[in-house]
């Protein structure tokens, strides 16, 4: 019923600016790293932040040896303080958490990934561990919002970039080339996506239109991260209705067809 998780104080190996307001943070966590599955997250207590209480959840980006990393954007006080931390400083981490992506079996479906902004980070391990290479559609507002393109190319994946201002790749939104690709109706494909909720809703809708199964990593506001506080719930269809399920525990990855979108704010 439960995946294994650990609470540990870990040391920062590096914390460097990626592009613009995005940062890459690598932590040494020899016991946590081997447990991590694609799509899971780490709940991080930014120890120097005294008046803000809560941990901050981050999708896990890469796992290398005894380290794992996250890719984050400075959006508020927590990430601002985090971005100023240096190698050698400590963070308290609960990880790995959540129900992640289903990694395709060898000879199974071809994965099509759709990422918006830093959603790309949550999809990297899945791409790395998938026996079949696929296509990744990545979108952002500007060139600087397109992250880890190089890493996906290094995995020898087909990377299709869109930017809203046309500064990199195709001009437009990411769901457009994705829609065109699904329209080719090739068999045995599966969709995996991470990004802002409106993008995920559109991806789920397109996948449904072409009758392709889709797993979506939902980006909900979280508090405890371990299933207790019931902050991060989303409405999920059940046999005869719907119920609130926890993004931190039953998710963050949900089957797109099970989400009760009409009830989701």
């Amino acid at each position: 019923m439960f995946t294994r998780m650990l609470e540990q104080t870990v040391q920062i190996v590096s914390n460097e600016r990626d592009t613009d307001s995005y940062f890459r943070l690598v932590m040494r966590a020899p016991q946590i790293a081997p447990l991590i599955q694609p799509g899971q997250f780490a709940h991080i207590h930014v120890l120097p932040m005294k008046d803000a209480l809560l941990r901050r959840p981050f999708s896990i980006f890469q796992v290398e040896g005894d380290t794992f990393s996250i890719l984050y954007k400075t959006v508020g006080k927590g990430t601002e303080v985090l971005s100023q931390m240096r190698a050698g400083e400590e963070l308290n981490v609960i990880a790995p958490l959540g129900h992640g992506f289903t990694v395709p079996k060898s000879g199974g479906e071809t994965p099509l990934l759709v990422a918006g902004g830093y959603g790309m980070a949550a999809l990297y391990l899945l791409a790395q561990r998938s026996p079949q290479k696929g296509i990744v559609f990545v979108g952002g507002r500007r060139r600087v919002d397109i992250l880890c393109e190089k890493e996906f190319r290094a995995l020898d994946w087909d990377v299709r970039v869109t930017t809203e201002d046309g500064s990199h790749g195709e001009k437009g939104i990411v769901t457009k080339p994705f829609f065109v690709e699904l329209g080719r109706k090739e068999l045995n494909r599966k969709v995996f996506a991470c990004g802002p909720t409106p993008m995920l809703k559109a991806v789920g809708g397109i996948a449904k239109e072409f009758d392709v199964s889709a797993e979506l990593s939902m980006d909900e506001h979280m508090c405890c991260g371990v299933g207790v506080c019931l902050t991060c719930v989303i409405p999920v269809k059940t046999g005869d209705g719907w119920e609130y399920q926890r993004s931190c525990t039953e998710g963050p990855v949900f089957d797109a067809r099970k989400i009760a979108w009409e009830l989701l704010k």
Binding site: R4, M5, V226
Partner: protein, 304 residues
């Protein structure tokens, strides 16, 4: 050195519990915390039927605090017994079940069901949740209704009854006395404070429920004062709670008059808090040469 205390007929190995609503049904934290070290586990509020809770956003962080409006999402009595009781009854420490209803009769029926279950440590009557339209605080802010709920539950069970008091009253003393007179074995003080936060850009409330209940370190001094006032009004033990982050916070509650304490919001960011509080009380007693934790209760030199 003795850390054990007693709530009615219930003996606890130490005075530190995990507060209702912040520790799920125990099982969620079992992978991070040795639950058998706790004084007791208090589970999230349960009424007869399953409850889907409020729309999201349900929580918002504020300076040194958290406002929540979860709306008592829960599995109902049957769902709880099926899904969570098999785990909880296997623990060596008692489970305290937090119960609520929308009518006096429902409180009594839920109390009866848990009495019949066998193996429950105590019942905590939630008459103070600010986030539901019916039930909760409506019973905790009316002395007569409060007495009715407590005595209706008293009639159907011999289990220790703990009344979880609302802070949202002019003076807590008459409410504390009413709960004691109606047969409550202990008081839990306190629940969250009604509160609100606004996003100034969108001019919308930050919670879907508009208002919620404030908890966390920012409420601790007002909760300590409530415990101090209630302790002067009643003879039954008080379980103090509100913003406890460490042993020093817990000891303040004990000195104000609490017999036991509960850790709430801190569980959300540091699941080890309960264990750290227990260790810290032990260390304090050693340092001050205190042999029994009960000596700390009410020991503040307030001169009144």
């Amino acid at each position: 050195m003795n850390l054990s205390i007693q709530i009615g007929t219930l003996k606890l190995q130490n005075p530190v519990m995990a507060a209702s609503g912040t520790f799920g049904y125990g099982v969620e934290y079992a992978r991070l915390v040795d639950l058998n070290q706790l004084g007791a586990v208090v589970v999230k509020g349960i009424r007869l039927e399953p409850v889907s809770g409020n729309p999201t956003p349900r929580t918002v962080e504020v300076a040194s605090g958290l406002i929540n409006a979860i709306g008592l999402q829960g599995p109902g009595v049957d769902g709880f017994i099926k899904k969570y009781w098999p785990f909880l009854k296997g623990l060596k420490v008692p489970t305290i079940i937090n119960i609520w209803g929308t009518t006096v009769e429902e409180y009594a029926e839920v109390a009866r069901r848990f009495d019949a279950l066998g193996g429950v440590g105590a019942l905590e009557l939630n008459v103070s949740c600010p986030n539901i339209k019916e039930g909760g605080a409506q019973f905790g802010t009316d002395v007569k209704l409060l007495a009715q709920v407590v005595s209706a539950c008293r009639k159907v069970t011999k289990l220790p009854l703990i009344t979880k008091m609302s802070p949202n009253v002019v003076s807590i003393a008459p409410y504390a006395k009413a709960a004691e007179d109606a047969g409550s074995d202990a008081l839990a003080i306190t629940n969250s404070y009604p509160a609100m936060a606004i996003d100034i850009e969108t001019r919308k409330p930050k919670l879907a429920n508009v208002t919620g209940g404030l908890t966390g370190p920012c409420i601790k001094p007002i909760a300590v004062k409530l415990v101090w006032e209630a302790a002067k009004a009643v003879k039954i033990p008080i379980i103090g709670m509100g913003g406890i982050q460490n042993a020093a916070d817990a000891i303040e509650f004990l000195m104000a008059g609490a017999t036991a304490v509960a850790v709430g919001t801190a569980n959300f960011y540091e699941p080890q808090t309960v264990l750290q509080v227990i260790a810290g009380i032990h260390e304090f007693m050693q340092r001050q040469g205190i042999k029994d934790v009960k000596e700390i209760t009410g020991s503040v030199h307030a001169g009144k």
